[in-house]
Symmetry: C6
Subunit: 76 residues, 6 copies
């Protein structure tokens, strides 16, 4: 993973693309801890039906979106 | 979802509209992980009656509201 | 709820009034997800006696208080 | 509680007094939700022996300490 | 505890010492709530073997490290 | 651990290396609390298969990434 370039910049064209980058960051945070795509897919089937897991996921996105939004000076 | 434009700006007219945008961001954070409206509706019926889920939801809104408020220079 | 004006400014006279606004924001975060006052009252009776729920609630207030305090330039 | 003045300033003489103010803010966040001292004392006996509750409490303090530290320009 | 001076400055020589101060702040957040060293030692034996407790602890350190890093202007 | 130098700077060449530093900070937050590599390896096998643990881990990374990104002025 360290050899893949998956994050070359925090700058995005629009707030929405910034939000989508925040989602990617949240997923990469999981991927570094659990590199197996097979395991992650299995888990996603479970937590995608669990309200608290979904709310927690949304919070990780929110924290990452703060970073991306600040990097983009809030697209002002 | 990536084709829909649902977030073109973080700027809102009033703090209250900013808070409502924060709620939208929290929900979109869930929607990207669980795209099925049917599943989300089913889960909402459950977590809407669970105190901890509601408190966690409010926290996600709070984190997103920090971002929106900063983007709007706190509506000063 | 969208028709009610309940948040017209983040500016408060004192830090304490700012803290109380943070509490209001935390509660509104819950209210938008669970609009029924009856359900919320029932849940409050439960989580008011649960230590972890109270600590989580205090955290939501803390996150909102960061926003309100920054908006008021920390009442300096 | 709204009639008591318990927070007139975020400014403290030292970082340590700032940390202690952050603890007070965390406790007040609980107190506004559960005003009964009797209930809070009962709960404290329980969560004081629960590792996760203590860690969560420490997190609420940490979030409030961010606010107090920023208000004091980090005592620089 | 209030009589002990344990935090006279947020400034540290290096980022690593700042991280170690963040750990101290996390522990002090627990200590103010549970002053008994005996109870804390007993709990540490438990949560030191619990993955979620360790992750939550790391999060409290992360929040405190934000404060310490900002105080040190990120050691730039 | 205090004798090892593992963090001499928050500055990284790229956002991706910054994200990887955030992961390291999250792991060090665990390591200071649970110094035994053997115990940590055993726990990792468990939480690597638990969705909520992975989401929580990703959140710790997100909080640390805020710090690293700010230190690097968002690599702008």
């Amino acid at each position: 993973m360290a050899d893949d370039v998956w994050l070359s910049s925090l700058i995005t064209e629009t707030p929405q693309k910034g939000f989508e980058l925040a989602i990617k960051l949240a997923r990469m945070g999981v991927k570094y801890t659990q590199p197996s795509a097979e395991v992650r897919d299995k888990l996603r089937a479970v937590y995608g039906e669990d309200a608290d897991s979904l709310i927690l996921s949304s919070q990780v996105v929110a924290v990452n979106f703060q970073t991306v939004a600040a990097a983009n000076n809030y697209w002002k």
